[in-house]
């Protein structure tokens, strides 16, 4: 691809076609995620929306952020961060779910009304 150009010796140059392809996919998925909210899927809606966001995010990370061609270690680094966030959110969710029953309903004396 970059054979015709004076590309750098130590990094990968992403072809324009790939960039445009990913761009198209992102645009399409954005419109899709917008459209899907007009269909009532019940509790599934949020997971569909998050699933689409995950696909979009993966595309951005792999192509726009060069993860596909870079050292795999960067992907490991990113995944470890996500794992960390997952642990944090997971435990906070698990715990707060457990003690909901102890809460005084709608306690918010600082809020008038």
């Amino acid at each position: 691809m970059s054979k015709h150009h004076e590309g750098p010796t130590y990094a990968h140059v992403v072809p324009v076609r790939t960039l445009l392809g990913v761009f198209g996919a992102l645009m399409f998925l954005t419109i899709l995620t917008y459209a899907v909210t007009y269909v009532d899927l019940g509790a599934l809606n949020i997971w569909v929306a998050l699933g689409i966001a995950l696909v979009k995010g993966t595309l951005v990370a792999l192509v726009f952020m060069h993860l596909l061609w870079d050292k795999k270690f960067y992907a490991v680094v990113l995944m470890s961060a996500l794992l960390c966030v997952m642990i944090f959110i997971g435990i906070a969710l698990l715990d707060s779910g457990q003690y909901q029953a102890d809460l005084i309903p709608d306690f918010a004396p600082g809020i008038v009304q």
């Binding site: 750098p8 954005t30 809606n45 951005v60 966030v85 909901q100």
Partner: protein
């Protein structure tokens, strides 16, 4: 004092720092550092996503009710704008790698423009919330008076960013059915107990649950912090524009463009998740 320079060629690149042996080592170090920085950004927002998840899971009714006051279409538009900017940023990196000086500047400028549009639209949204008292904590005082969409559009034309002003009113026109939802929801709220009204095909909202202000607290912190990141990215892009005007970047030295690019894509990536979580709640 003789400092050994083994492994370094005599014609070292002017941007090669003394403690590195090659541009490749320098680039790798910088890139690795950048990735680690992005990790910290992911975790920074991770904390906010955690707060979001905890409140969403335990008080779904607040989210189901309050998200109707957000303008899906403006949010969607902003998502598209950011994706365009990500493309132009990726193109800018490519241009820098190939030494295409003119296109590099064009692409950076395009990215900057997209960032301006994004913030402009954001400003319109914020102003709308402000006017209607849809704010955080004790400042959450929803105004009962219905506000015609034309008002919002009129206010938007006074926005400073011309691009935003151009985009927003046009958009305001297309969002009529949705824009109607907001005020109607507000009217609902002002008369608790009067539930069951339909909202532009969204299904009934019912009476306002308690502590709706929590949603707006989370909304403003998340989008606000994201907005600050966009601003920081814009400053970095201006810095890149200045350096690229001096023709500093080329196949041997494009690291700054690459690193700012990584940052910019991450900011885009975070918005990709914020958009459905805040705007597209069913």
């Amino acid at each position: 004092m003789s400092t050994p320079h083994e492994g370094r060629d005599e014609h070292a690149h002017p941007h090669l720092q003394h403690h590195f042996e090659s541009m490749a080592q320098q680039y790798d170090s910088g890139k690795f550092g950048m990735w680690l920085f992005l990790v910290t950004e992911v975790l920074l927002f991770g904390g906010l996503f955690c707060a979001y998840a905890v409140y969403r899971a335990n008080h779904p009714e607040i989210f189901a009710y309050a998200h109707q006051f957000l303008d899906k279409t403006l949010g969607g538009l902003n998502t598209l704008v950011l994706i365009v900017s990500s493309l132009t940023m990726a193109m800018a990196v490519r241009c820098a790698q190939l030494g295409q000086q003119r296109r590099l500047k064009q692409m950076l400028a395009a990215t900057l423009l997209c960032a301006c549009i994004f913030l402009g639209v954001k400003g319109v949204e914020y102003e709308h919330k402000w006017k209607h008292g849809l704010l955080w904590g004790t400042h959450y005082v929803p105004q009962g008076e219905t506000v015609a969409p034309a008002d919002a559009a009129g206010a938007a034309t006074t926005a400073e960013t011309t691009a935003a002003a151009a985009a927003a009113p046009a958009d305001g026109g297309t969002t009529l059915p949705h824009a109607a939802t907001g005020p109607q929801g507000l009217a609902d709220h002002s008369q608790p107990g009067h539930g069951g009204a339909s909202h532009g095909g969204h299904g009934p909202a019912g009476p306002a649950p308690r502590n709706v202000h929590l949603f707006f607290g989370i909304y403003f912190v998340m989008t606000g912090l994201h907005g600050i990141h966009v601003l920081a990215g814009m400053i970095a892009i201006v810095w890149l524009l200045r350096r690229s005007a001096a023709g500093e970047f080329g196949p041997e030295y494009f690291a700054p463009v690459d690193f700012v690019g990584l940052y910019w894509h991450l900011v885009d990536l975070i918005w990709i998740f914020l958009f459905p979580l805040l705007y597209l709640i069913h």
